[in-house]
Symmetry: D2
Subunit: 359 residues, 4 copies
C-alpha cells in the first residue's frame, strides 16, 4: 500500500524515487527528509568514503501547502561529486565480491561507473522515502525507530545509551567503547582492508495486529526489506540464531496484564505484531572494495588480477543504521495501511498488553 519505486545510478545525473500511497494531510517539508539523509551522508568522518555529496533532496510532487495530498510524492537528488576518472580498469574485469559479474551475466550490459545501479548510493532513496514513513509513524502512531551499531568486526557493543547514537560517527550506543572503535578503524584503513558489522534496529510503540498470517508475515517482510540492503548477509528477529540453543520454556515470552515478561520473540507472533518492541538485527559483510589485489576474470572469461581503487567505505556497516531504520519504517507503514484496510472496523475486546521493559 505504501510503495517506493526508485531509480538512479551512482554516476548518472540523479537519484530519484516515487512514494505512492502516503496518507494525505501529513505535514512534510524537504527538511524532514534532509535530516535523515544527513545521517546517511558520506564524507562526515574519516571512517567513511571521502565522496562528498550534498544530497539535497527536492520534493517534486505530492505536497501542497506543506501537506501531503495523497498523490505520488516524487523525490530527486542530483549527483554532484561524480569524479570523472578512468574506468577502463573495471570496464573489462569483474571485481570479486561485487555485482559486476552478475549484472553482466544477467543483462549483457552494465554501467560500470562507480558500480552503477549496484552502488550503495541507491540507498539514499530508501532513506528519503523512509523519512516520510517515519514521520507518519511517529506523529500518528507514536512509533519510534532507533538503530545502532551492535558489533564491529570482533567488537561487540551494548545498547546502554540510545541517545548517544546521534553524537558519534559509528551510531554507537555504547559510548565508552568509542576510542576502541576509532583505533580499530584507523588500523584497518592503514591496512587497506575492510570489516563486517552488525546493526540492530528497535521499533517501539508498534500497535498489535500488523502483519499477515502466512507468506506476508511481518517478520518475513522485515527480513526481505533488510536483506535487500546492500551487503546484508543475515537477518534476525528477537533472539534470532540464539533461539537454536533455547528450550521452549526459556524462549517463550509470558504475558500478564502488566506486560510481556521479556522479548525473545522480537515483536511478532505468528507473523503479526504483538505490541512488543520490534527488534531486528542484520549482518553486513565487509565490502570487497579493498586495496589488496584479487584474482578474477575479464569479460572474455580469461584469468586476470584486479585492484580496486577509488573512494570506498572500509565498513559499509557504519552508514547502514539509517538505512536499516528506513527499511523497518517502510515495512511497518505498509503493514499498518494493509491492516487498516482489512480491519479498520474490528472491535477489540481484549486490552493491549504493554511491551516488556528493555535492558
Amino acid at each position: 500500500m505504501f510503495t517506493v519505486t526508485t531509480f538512479g545510478e551512482s554516476h548518472g545525473p540523479a537519484m530519484g524515487c516515487v512514494v505512492d500511497g502516503c496518507p494525505p494531510g501529513l505535514a512534510l517539508a524537504e527538511s524532514d527528509i534532509q535530516a535523515d539523509l544527513e545521517r546517511r551522508r558520506p564524507g562526515k568522518s574519516r571512517h567513511t568514503t571521502p565522496r562528498n555529496e550534498p544530497d539535497q533532496v527536492r520534493i517534486l510532487s505530492g505536497v501542497f501547502e506543506g501537506q501531503t495530498t495523497g498523490t505520488p510524492i516524487g523525490l530527486l537528488i542530483e549527483n554532484k561529486d561524480q569524479r570523472s576518472r578512468d574506468y577502463s580498469k573495471i570496464r573489462d574485469k569483474f571485481r570479486p565480491g561485487h555485482a559486476d559479474y552478475t549484472y553482466q551475466q544477467k543483462y549483457g550490459i552494465r554501467d560500470y561507473r562507480g558500480g552503477g545501479r549496484s552502488s550503495a548510493r541507491e540507498t539514499t532513496m530508501r532513506v528519503a522515502a523512509g523519512a516520510i514513513a517515519r514521520k507518519y509513524l511517529r506523529t500518528r502512531l507514536g512509533v519510534e525507530i532507533h538503530g545502532y551499531l551492535a558489533q564491529l568486526g570482533p567488537i561487540e557493543l551494548a545498547a546502554h545509551d540510545l541517545a548517544a547514537v546521534e553524537h558519534n560517527p559509528f551510531f554507537c550506543a555504547d559510548p565508552d567503547r568509542l576510542p576502541e572503535l576509532e583505533d580499530f578503524m584507523d588500523e584497518l584503513r592503514e591496512q587497506g582492508d575492510s570489516i563486517g558489522a552488525k546493526i540492530a534496529v528497535l521499533a517501539s510503540g508498534v500497535p498489535p495486529g500488523l502483519g499477515e498470517p502466512v507468506f506476508d508475515k511481518l517478520e518475513a517482510d522485515l527480513a526481505r526489506g533488510l536483506m535487500s540492503i546492500n551487503a546484508v548477509k543475515g537477518v534476525e528477529l528477537g533472539a534470532g540464531f540464539a533461539a537454536v540453543r533455547q528450550r521452549g520454556s526459556e524462549h517463550r515470552d509470558e504475558l500478564s496484564p502488566d506486560g510481556f515478561n521479556k522479548n525473545d520473540a522480537g515483536g511478532t507472533l505468528g507473523g503479526i505484531s504483538s505490541g512488543q518492541d520490534i527488534l531486528a538485527s542484520i549482518a553486513l559483510k565487509p565490502t570487497s572494495s579493498i586495496s589488496a589485489p584479487g584474482h578474477t576474470i575479464d569479460r572474455d572469461g580469461k584469468a586476470t588480477e584486479i585492484v580496486t581503487t577509488g573512494r570506498h567505505d572500509p565498513c559499509v556497516g557504519l552508514r547502514a543504521t539509517p538505512i536499516a531504520e528506513s527499511m523497518v519504517a517502510l515495512v511497518l507503514i505498509d503493514h499498518f495501511l494493509r491492516h487498516r484496510a482489512q480491519n479498520a472496523d474490528v472491535e477489540r475486546s481484549t486490552p493491549v498488553v504493554p511491551a516488556a521493559n528493555r535492558d
Copy 2:
C-alpha cells in the same frame, strides 16, 4: 510470476492452494507432489507429533493428460485426523509464544481449534506447491535443492553425507551423530520441553542472472520466503552472521576460469545469482507448545495460567527441512521466470564460471 495462494485451517475440512504461472508441458502427477508431502508428514517417528494425517493430495485442475497446461493448478488435501476435543482451555486464554493473542488483536475473532490458520499444518501447501517448482527446476534447469539439519539445540552437525538425509527422521547429513540426536530428543520429550534448530538449504545448478538489483534481490526474496515459515527467527545467506567478524580480504570469493575459489557469498552478488550454490540457513525457535504451565492473560485481559496439552512436535525444526527446501524452490522458479521475461533475448559473451567445490 509463479504464485502460490493457500487456504485452510488446522481443524477445518481441508487445506488447499492454487499455483498460478507454472509453465505448460511439465509432466506432473499427484505422486510427484506426494513424495515431498511424505517427507514433511507428521507421525513418522516418535520425535514428531503423533497426529496422523495421510496428507493425500488431489490435483483439481491445470493438468491434462499428465502435463501441466499453463492454467492454474488447484491442489487439495482433506484434513482427516482432527481429533475432536475440548478447546475451552485455549478458547479464552492466549498461549504464550503463540499467535493466539496477535490474531485476536488483529481480527477480533480467531479459530482457536489446533491453532487454526497459524498451525504448522499450513505448510503442507508450501511443500505441495514447492514440489511442482522443484520438478520444473530439476528437469528443465538441472537445479538440485537439498536441505539438512545443521544444529539441534547445542548439537552442531556437519554435512558430510547429503545422501543420508533421506534415511533418518532428523534430515541429518552427519549420520554418526544420530544416536546423540535420538538421546537428546528422548530426554527432551520426557521433560515435556522443546528445542530450537538450525536448518541449511543448498541449491546447486542455479544459473547466473536470477534476482533483481534493489528491493527484489534474490537474497531478499529468499529471506522473505524462509522467514515466513512458522517459527523461523533468523535467516542467513552464505557466511551470514559470521561475516560480521570477517575482513574483506577474507570474505570475497575470487573468480577464475576454473571457478570461484570458495562460497562465502552464498550464491548471490548484488541481488543476483552468480552461478555459485545458493546456501541459506534458518534458525527455528523452540515451539511454545510445552507441558510446563505458563503465565498469560485471558480474553478479558485478566492474569491466568495455561498448560498446553495435545499433540505437538518437541522440535518443529525436525520437519522443517522439506518446507525450507520448498520455499527456496518457489523463490528460484519465480525469479527464473521473471529473469526470462526481461532478459530472454540477452546475448551473453562472458563464459559462466563454475561454482566452488563444496567440502
Copy 3:
C-alpha cells in the same frame, strides 16, 4: 486488497477459488453464496444450456462459528454433469471464434474438453466470490448492486422495474417485453444461431472517494473486471459512447446541496467515485458455439470445416447479469479497502452530495 484466485476447468473434477483479504466478523454461510450461484446456474429455462449443474458450494476455510475470520476463504464446487462424450472432433480442430486456437498457440497444449479453462463455467467462482463482496458492501456500507438486460439483439429494453429482474429468466426490468424476448429466443434456437446482448449494472450507495487518480481509476478497474468476463467486447460508464456526440454543456452533471442534477458521468469523476450511482454497461458478443458449420484449420494448419455440437447457451448474455454484478462488487470492495488503507483518518469538511434521482 480483496483478491480472488480461481482455478478449474469445465470438465475437471472441480472449480474453486480463494478469497483473500475479506474483513473479519462478517456473518457468512454457504447459503449466502448459493443464492447468487442459483441466479447464474444453467438449466433453469429452455433459453440456456441444458447442462445441469447443482453448483453446490462448500466453504473450506476462513469462516468460524458463522463469521469470517479474516484469513483466506476457500470455496469449492464439484463438477457433476461432465457428460462423457467424444471430443475427437474438437481435439484436432479449432472452433472459429473460440479460444481453442489461441490457447494452443500460447501453451502448446490445451484441455479441449468443454472448453477447459476458457469455458464460461469459470464464472461460477466470480459469482461465488462476488457474493461475499456483495454481502459486505450491502450490510456494512448500504451498497446495492442490480444488473439487468438492457438489450437483446435488436430489442432495446427499459429499466422500469428492477424488482421484476429476479422473476424472469432474462433478468429483464421491462416485463411487458417478455413475450417479445421469448419469441425471439425460440426462433433463434430453431435456427441454431446465437445473439449478442447488452447488460447494465447499477450500484447505489457507493460512498464518494473510492478509486485512484491515474492508472487505478475506479472506472479503469471496473472496465478491466467487466471486460474480463467471457464474451464481453465493450464497456461503458455512464453516457459511454453517447458522450462522443455530447457537448460539454450537455454532459457535465451539475451539483447542488440537493444532489447531482443527473448522472451522465456514471458515478466517477477523475477516477474516484462521486457518490452518484455507478452505472456500467457491457456488450456481449453472440457465442460462436452454433450449429452452422464454419471454416477453420486443424492442428497441422490445414483447412477444414467444423460443426459445434454439444450443449450451449444461444445467448451468453442471458446468464451474464449476476456475473457482471459480481465483478462490480469485487472492484468496489477492493477499492473500498484500498481507500480505507490510505485515507481512514481523513477528516472531511465538505458534506456529501446526494446522487441524482433515477428515472
Copy 4:
C-alpha cells in the same frame, strides 16, 4: 513486468516517471521519446489549449552508452508554462464534471492549481513511457501501433489513409473531411463549448499468445489501460457494442491457412491475442472546462455558480491519439514479457494464421 510509475501535478515543478522491467540492450535516446511527446504536445494548433510547454524529457537513469541497461529508467519533464494566476475562484468551489469534488472527498485536501494530479498533463508520462514500449515492440517484434480520430461529435470518420494521420492536427485518417473538422471546431470555440470524440487504435504484427485466460485477459488489461485515460467513458474491442445486434453466424471470424476472413473479434479470443490486428476504440467525453456558467457547491456545501476560465482544450479527444497508442503499447509489452516468462520454452506445432486484410 513492464511497470510505469508516474508522479507530478499540472502546476508543480515537474512531471516524472520510472519505467521498470525494460529489457536491456534497446537503443534509446531522448529523441526517441521526444518524438511522441511532440505529437501529444499542446499549443500546436488553434484547436488545442494555448498552454505552451516544450515538454523536453530527460533520461535520468537506466540508459548507458545509448542502450537500456535493464535497470529502472527515470524520466523527467520540468513544467515551464505554469501561468501564475488567481486560483481563488476554484479553490473553494468544485467545477461540475471535474475531479475537484471527488479529490476533496477522498483526501480532504487537493492541489487545485490547474487540476493538480487530475490534469491531463499527467498523460505526458504515459506517452514518454509508451514511446519506450513502442520502440521495443517495433524493433524486436515488428508490432506497429497506429491511432486515429474515428469520430468528432456527430462527424464519423473513415480510416482510409493512416499515413495522413501525422499530417493534420486532428490525427484524422480521412483527409477529405479536414475542412469539415476545422469548421466544426472553429464554431465550437466561438460558442465556448466542448465536444466528445472517438479514437481508434490499431496494432498490427502482434504475435498470438499474449494475454491470460481469466482476470488478466489481454482485452481486460487493454480496457483498463484505455479507461484510465482522462475523460474516457467507453472502450470497445473489435465489433464492440455492434456485437450486441450480431448473430453468431455473423460475428465469428473464420480461419483458413490464408488467414482470418475478417476481424470482428478485434485481435483476441478468450483473453489471448490471436495474431489478428488488435483493434480498440474509446469514447472521450467533452471536457467540462467550458465558459458557460454551471451550478455547483462550495467547500462548505453551499450552492453557488462557477465559470471555468483559463486555457483548455475544447476537445480533449484531439490530443488523445498518442496517449491511447501509448496505453496499448504498454499493455502489449507487459503481456509480451509475461507470456515469455511462462511460455518461452513452448514448442508450437501449429502454424500461425495471418491476420485478416484490413479494408
